[in-house]
Amino acid sequence: MKRFAELLLNLILTSSRNDKIDHIVNWIKDSNSEEIGWGLSIICEELEISKVKPSMVKEISKLHIDKYLFDLSYDYVGDMAETVSLIWPEKNDKNANFSSVTLTNVIKDLINVQKKEAPKLISNYLDNFDQNTRWAFLKIITGGLRVGVSSRLAKTAISKYFNKNIKDIEELWHAFDPPYKEIIEWCREIIEKPKVKDKPIFRSPMLANPLEENDYKLINPISYLAEWKWDGIRVQLVSMKNEVKLYSRSGDDISNSFPDIIENSFSQDFCLDGELMAGSIKIPGSFNDLQQRLNRKNPSKDLIRNMPTFIVAYDALYIKDQDIRDKSVIDRRELLKAFILEEKLSFIKFSDEVVFKNFQDLEGKRLQCRQDLNYEGLMLKLRNSTYEPGRPKGPWFKFKRDPYSIDVVLLYAQRGHGKRSSFYSDYTFGVWNGYLKNRQLVTVGKAYSGFTDQELLKLDKFIRANTTNRFGPVREVEKTLVLEVAFDDIQKSKRHKSGLAMRFPRIKRIRWDKPANEADTIEDLERLLNVRN
């Protein structure tokens, strides 16, 4: 347990992805199979401890501190597990046996304890652990690790250490419950690769490459099929022996967030690939709408009623007892279409083919996406291609609508994180509002990317040399530098003074040459907004 607590501490204090992987690998080396399994289930936030609730932690802390002091402390620290771990009195005569307690012991105790006995169990552990171990122990109970490791990164670490393909690990992952005994034993080559035919597993998705200019010649309607690229999130919906799961594209189980999707019954087993959208098939919502539903576990009935979701299905990986990934796109889509018709599902829409005559025709279709909120562009799929996990070059292309771009003026800058932590790399920018003498710059957005390392150095230098004011970590700069900012979409928003917000703004070019008074105006942006709605 102490070793696992050290791992969590190391993870929280490193920002580099590779360093995090190294820390996980080192911990795997020091741990046995069962500990590895439990630990990963904690990092991937997949361990559920039903008998010990987070509220119990707060209750127990009251044995040692009164509410007022606890609340002041919690308010300062901002994290329940950390607050309690710090406040808990350090006992002088700790039981030495506790330093060798394993993670497995702890988890089994938490899973098996009788509810009545739970407070005593927790207190006993807290009394005998050191501060860092207390923190990790409480984190297991409260969840919300915040150590900056995605489940994908954790799986990458296992695949690296055991020299296994990450796609295989992802496929097996959801077929087993923590501590994933079969997966770890297969990694250690103690057992053969387990069969997972009857489980609603996640299958690594096939990804598309952006269509570049030298690919244009490949595209003709005989070889390639076109579909709209819907602007939602990529999901995989799986039903196997009446167990239904919804996965994100990275393999996270997001079923809890979408009961409106998974609480349906199906007459057959399947695995669909598609885009999750807000709204209904008749009236689809924008990506902005969908955001109200993302990252919310167990949404309220009201929220579901006000903002329902549906799936635009464009591919099938498994239908009627059969893995069909070896069939062609055309055949898979036929099976998919038949399936949707048979099941009569109101929340699954078949992604129709977009018919085109030639590449020019397709270009015209792509331009249309600018007027429609739901399409991000087009998808192009080689008609006779099979479903290959990963990002093979050739069979699938994404042909996105061009981003918009405007010229803005740099207003504020802040230091970045990780690799960029000493450079001013977060930029807040604005456009002109009002006329003549009353003209002012109003903020419209923030960008952190799009520039090269060389450009970053120049921007950093400009900011340091042109600071006019400081507000904590933020520097206000001389309003002279024009940036060309590219963005995917524009929406109304209360976040910025301008009342507008851009989707994924990034720095396209630094216009050292352009005077600030020639930057764009709020009217220019509003015109784009009107085009879109």
Partner: protein, 339 residues
């Protein structure tokens, strides 16, 4: 308790209608200064009374003209101003740091300045003085702050340097007090290698040495004059810098640095993370929650006044023990940056 000879004004703690002030924020005629940190020791007073060390620190930082005239007051040496009997007692915060003990009209009032109770080989230990009113700081007055024994943190640092011979350690330390304490404790724990210093730490380290505190081999953390490439030269080395330099481009010249910070604030993991700190060292020159409560018990005042910091929790805790406590809320003492 009725007290009419000492009160809080915008300048800070005023005694006898302005006869003198303790650690005033704005220039005054006569000031007693508890210690050399910039928020307590400001330039521009006419007459400054402090320990020899504190005066030397002020002179080093502000130049010879930091005041018109000064009076050296040793610990426990007596001085009377306008019938107020005064002496200084060690506060254990930094070199020369003192509490101001004042006696008038049969009332003893002590201003703690900043203080700590843990061992510090670079300054005299805090002495509790029985007082009627104890005017205390409360920087870390929350039950979550329990500073571990400082030696454990020094050993964490040594262990980390040995574990990562290919990288260098850049540790953020406040230039007065923390830097010298960290160096001296490293020496006492057997670390005798050269320690490299950011330019802004050099002067005060030299000053400490003049006062007889041997800090071992120190060199400026420069890059031009080294025999090898700076990248190779600094592998496995320890560099100390003010906290602001950690987030600055300055720290980028070193090979794949492990960034550390020695501060009481490093208690909170997410706070260390926010600042991009890889190696948080909980090493504070302020009293933690238990030290403050113990100190109040030992001083056994009838009232506690709080200059700055987390007042609410301390006021609450005092009132639980039937002790009157109030916040002076002096604006200008940095309560949120033990850097």
């Amino acid at each position: 308790m009725k007290v009419d000879w000492i009160k809080k004004t915008k300048e800070g703690i005023q005694v006898k209608d302005g006869s003198f002030f303790v650690d005033p924020i704005y220039p005054v005629k006569k000031a007693i200064i508890t210690h050399g940190h910039a928020d307590h020791a400001r330039a521009g007073h006419e007459h400054v009374i402090a320990t020899l060390e504190t005066l030397a620190i002020m002179k080093e930082r502000y130049g010879n003209n930091f005041c018109k005239n000064s009076t050296v007051l040793k610990y426990h040496e007596k001085l009377t101003i306008e019938e107020v009997k005064i002496f200084l007692a060690p506060a254990g915060h930094v070199l020369g740091s003192a509490q101001v003990v004042m006696n008038f009209a049969n009332q003893v009032i002590t201003v703690s300045g900043d203080y700590k109770r843990q061992d510090d080989p670079t300054c005299a230990a805090f002495e509790p003085i029985k007082s009627d009113i104890f005017i205390t700081e409360a920087t870390f007055a929350l039950p979550v702050f329990k500073h571990p024994n400082a030696n454990t943190q020094i050993n964490l640092l040594i262990k980390s340097i040995l574990n990562f011979p290919e990288r260098c350690h850049v540790i953020g330390v406040y230039s007065l007090g923390k830097a010298q304490r960290l160096i001296k404790m490293l020496r006492n724990n057997g670390w005798h290698n050269t320690i490299y210093l950011h330019g802004s730490l050099v002067k005060i380290c030299n000053l400490y040495e003049k006062f007889g505190i041997d800090l071992g081999d120190l060199e400026p953390a420069t890059i031009q004059d080294k025999p090898e490439k700076p990248h190779d030269f600094y592998k496995g080395k320890l560099i100390l810098a003010p906290p602001s330099a950690l987030a600055d481009r300055w720290s980028r010249r070193f090979p794949d640095p492990i960034l550390g910070m020695a501060s009481g604030w490093m208690t909170v993991k997410q706070r260390a993370k926010q600042r991009g700190i890889n190696l948080p060292l909980i090493l504070s020159d302020h009293a933690d929650w238990n030290e403050i409560l113990t100190t109040i018990k030992e001083v056994s005042p009838k009232e506690v006044w709080i200059t700055h910091g987390a007042e609410e929790a301390l006021i609450y805790e005092c009132s639980k023990n039937n002790l009157t406590a109030k916040a002076l809320s002096i604006i200008g003492y940095e309560s949120d940056t033990d850097l």
